[in-house]
Symmetry: C2
Subunit: 329 residues, 2 copies
């Protein structure tokens, strides 16, 4: 726990100014015509997100020598895009909590949640247009195409007990990694990076994104609701097959398989039953395997940075990769 707090504090102390400027830019660039839109968007946007995606874009640009002054303004598009998908996904998944507050669709109704998500999505693309770099605009639009299709696939997979690890990796790539990869790559492109640096930061972002989602799927079975800020055991309740279960199923006896399958999507799981379930995942190696796969992705992300000169910015990006694994929420 202590090393967790240490890493978090070490990162935070070095990005205080960046985060403050990103926060300002988040408010400045929202610009809805309507106060209600600001309220609904703000409900998710200003509920204590970590601003990881904007920060990654800013740091990636800096690592490639960006010296303009529009990086913070552009960077917030990744938070808007992230918030748009959170709002739509929570509605799609019928989630109850988000960032410790009630989900937007419950607070404001499905209709307003859909439309505010649309607005944030459009706002992020307007900002992308502002870069004037067609490649960046294509990336941002492509991210949204990938994410929506990843969610549809995940929806279709729901309840499927024969999902393979490869199918899982494909889903989390679209769901999480494309956005984080896009943020890092946009930073590189804004700085006019050469192809090699562009490729290195694209790789870094991809592996970091995969690590984050695997760590997230692990947290669903290891964290408690309070620190996670969303309902614990939500994946189990929704019948969402993530890596801890996929691995556990592959190593389960027939009796264990029946038990796991019986728990998937079960209504009214008690705390006691949930604990027993996570113990089964642990025993079958599902939690350790997921942790190891995530750690391997972190290592690949850090390795991709090795082509850059050592220094403050590279250190920070490296620390952020480690942070993927140690965060509690």
């Amino acid at each position: 726990m202590n090393s967790v707090t240490d890493l978090k504090d070490r990162i935070k102390s070095r990005v205080t100014k960046d985060l403050a400027e990103i926060e300002d830019a988040l408010v400045r660039n929202l610009n809805p015509h309507d106060d209600l839109v600001r309220d609904i968007a703000g409900h998710v946007l200003f509920a204590g997100g970590k601003r990881l995606r904007p920060l990654l874009m800013v740091l990636s640009a800096r690592l490639c020598g960006y010296d303009g002054d529009d990086d913070k303004n552009i960077s917030v598009l990744f938070e808007y895009l992230h918030a748009a998908t959170l709002i739509h996904d929570d509605l799609v998944d019928e989630a109850v909590l988000r960032r410790g507050k009630d989900a937007a669709h419950l607070r404001y109704g499905n209709a307003r949640a859909v439309l505010t998500g649309d607005f944030l999505l459009a706002r992020s693309l307007s900002l992308a247009a502002r870069t004037g770099i067609p490649k960046v605009i294509g990336i941002i639009a492509g991210i949204t195409e990938d994410m929506s299709q990843g969610e549809i696939r995940q929806l279709t997979n729901k309840g499927r007990l024969d999902l393979t690890e490869a199918e899982y990796m494909d889903v989390i790539e679209r769901k999480t990694a494309v956005l984080i990869r896009g943020a890092c790559r946009t930073g590189a492109l804004m700085a006019g990076a050469d192809e090699e640096k562009d490729r290195a930061l694209t790789d870094y972002g991809y592996h970091l994104g995969m690590a984050f989602q695997m760590a997230d799927d692990l947290l669903d079975y290891t964290a408690d609701t309070l620190s996670l800020g969303k309902t614990i055991g939500a994946d189990l309740k929704e019948g969402k097959l993530t890596l801890p279960i996929i691995y556990a199923l592959a190593n389960a006896s027939e009796a264990e398989k029946m038990y796991i399958e019986g728990m998937m999507g079960k209504e009214g799981v008690t705390a006691q039953e949930f604990r027993q379930f996570t113990e089964t995942l642990e025993r079958l190696g599902g939690l350790a395997y997921t942790r190891n796969m995530a750690l391997a992705a972190v290592a690949r992300a850090k390795n991709a940075l090795s082509m850059f000169e050592t220094g403050e910015t590279r250190d920070l990006l490296s620390m952020l990769a480690d942070y993927a694994m140690v965060r509690q929420s």
Copy 2:
């Protein structure tokens, strides 16, 4: 009726080739990773839309001397964007029918409808990015911002009986006119039109869009379900205050006001009651006023074309403006 069929046939015979190429481009550029996404998107996209928006872009480009070969590919983004908003709006409005078929959210569920709408929205922005014209990309992103906010405002206005004509015009501008205006303007920009022509086609598209929406709101009280392809009297049922009612209310006695207000959002309105309601709107001048306002917008749209040389393309755009008023669906 005969003149309606005549105008429709006259337009159709001159754009047969364009429409066939647009239809091909709609299939070719959809490109989902997933068959399910293709099915859901296709449910709305290939249910007999008029392709008005792509056609307007293509004709606007041609009027400004466009001689490239990417116009059809780019033009379909306006149909994708239109389909995306139809899917989300039908969900938001809890509509039952669309283009004569059951609405996507009823057929595939809310979740898939939200995500397929997101995909189509993203697809349209990817195509915009392909133009490589930052102004075009900004316009497309701006359209989506406007449309989502227009829908939220309409939602907030629902049930309000004191909506003014100006507020109504603001809603239909965002809801309909910005997209049609954007299609015409994109055509001009793709052709590298000068500022004056850009402005003229922007005006044309704006007034045409306003005319279309007013005519549409009128049709809700004058057409029958079969020819409209969506549920008749839907606006009344949803308690949506459109121009026919706004004008009628302004000219109603206290008793008539109470009657109209009592009918707004009423459950289980019979065909007999609905007929009586439309007769009241007719008697109070609501239908005639809306028709006249729409006709005035058509005249403004046609007037905006006067700066262009006469010829086949200008004639077609002029006929399309007339078509806004005479269509039955």
